[in-house]
Symmetry: C2
Subunit: 278 residues, 2 copies
């Protein structure tokens, strides 16, 4: 008897996904697991467009909940980031039913808003590649990493420092900054907090790191690891510090341990960070 | 006997000021008050440059404190914004002595970080034009407004809705967002909170408004008034909402009253908002 395939539900909670990219991901999934390919269930709302968004806030929340609450789906994989998760997060989190507890939620960037709220509420979440990453340079490697982890829990997909065994979490810097003090902020006490950023001015990274490290609850983490900060926006006065110097300085000032680098970022090499105890 | 001139200390707490602009402001002050011009005391550190900043963090904090703690100076006027106040705010606030209580602090934009911390600690602060505004189109009007208020407390300089008499405060949106949850966040309960923004994508304004309105302490304000959001960065998918529609929506969602517009912004028309009871 054939083993039941893993069923992965795909939802765009922020910006719109496309059928073209969905087809590429589907083909790659079939090629990677020829004997028993995972079943990819893309919620049709993911292809809607409403301004910046994959449908209205209600449509995105409904799509998220239909996948999250489906007892026959094993994982919810965010199709992509962009912007818009904060607009539907309250409705998404309020509508969760018991079947939502039995699955893993995988994404990063803007989807971090939902990972935060889900983790706070006790759900299993992980920071890692999303379907749209297939369009990056070498992006098929990111999709393979995500699928091998979703299907087989391949430990080679994990961020290497997780082998230390400490509880962990990972966020985009500005995404974490802009949930601080709200009901979405998770308790990260004793966690190794990994942070990455993309397409920002270095002075904005500095300002965001001030905010994150100034929060008294964030100061209870076990330490920070710095992921990649890609595509820094040039400024007419160069900031004069690297992202590592910025993060080290705010760690020093706030009494947070700087634990080194993390193999995460808005790129094809982005490794997976399951939240919580490893 | 000649009336003692008002002494205004000028400090760059963020990005560097220049002698050329200081001279223009000085000349305008003399022209506006020919009989008894205010004495403008520019702290020399304001002309330093250290990367993005008017000197190192220590130098900016020292300059701020020398002016703030000088009993012969009546007002501390921030020379300009830019970036860097959060890097020296702790040192600046910890070093304040009793003479610092007897003066008013005027600025906006990045200086809002210090206004927040000062207001929280019971000092007299106001959101309004800074010296550097003289370079804007029609910027002399902003400087005249600031000086007439600093020298004579001219009520024509005030944001018009303050005539209603409610306690008020004003901030740049991202500046307020990035102190939420930290020790710099002031208690704005029952205040009319006025917000303005400059040179941001509309989707980032939307995300920032989510953050601000999601904070439980911010929800205790009397209501919001929206200042100007200037120079919105174009996006390849237009956000499809005006700043007023964005702010009205987040007010609706969070149960905060939307009270209308405020005559503040990163422009020459920026009116003055003293914090607290009017």
């Amino acid at each position: 008897m054939a083993k039941k395939p893993v069923r992965i539900g795909i939802v765009a909670a922020s910006s719109p996904y496309t059928q073209e990219i969905a087809t590429r991901v589907e083909r790659l999934a079939t090629a990677l697991f020829p004997e028993n390919p995972p079943e990819l269930v893309v919620h049709p709302n993911s292809f809607r467009t409403h301004g910046h968004f994959a449908g209205t806030d209600s449509e995105r929340a409904a799509a998220f909940l239909e996948i999250a609450n489906d007892p026959d789906i094993d994982a919810l994989w965010f199709a992509r980031g962009g912007y818009g998760a904060c607009r539907m997060a309250d409705a998404a989190l309020e509508g969760l039913k018991s079947a939502a507890r039995d699955k893993i939620y995988l994404g990063y960037s803007d989807a971090g808003v939902l990972l935060a709220g889900l983790y706070k509420a006790g759900y299993s979440v992980a920071h890692g590649p999303m379907c749209q990453d297939i369009v990056r340079d070498g992006g098929e490697a990111a999709i393979e990493r995500a699928l091998r982890w979703l299907v087989e829990r391949d430990s080679a997909a994990l961020e290497p420092s997780l082998a230390d065994g400490q509880p962990a979490a990972a966020f985009n810097m500005i995404t974490l900054s802009q949930i601080l003090g709200t009901s979405l902020q998770p308790d990260l006490r004793d966690h190794v907090l990994m942070l990455e950023e993309i397409s920002e001015y270095m002075y904005k990274i500095d300002r965001t790191m001030h905010h994150i490290t100034a929060h008294p609850d964030i100061r209870k983490v076990a330490g920070f690891r710095l992921g990649r900060c890609g595509d820094i926006t040039p400024n007419d006065t160069d900031f004069g510090m690297t992202e590592e110097a910025v993060v080290r300085e705010w760690c020093d000032r706030s009494g947070i341990r700087f634990l080194g680098r993390a193999d995460i970022g808005h790129d094809a090499a982005n490794r997976i960070v399951p939240f919580g105890p490893q």
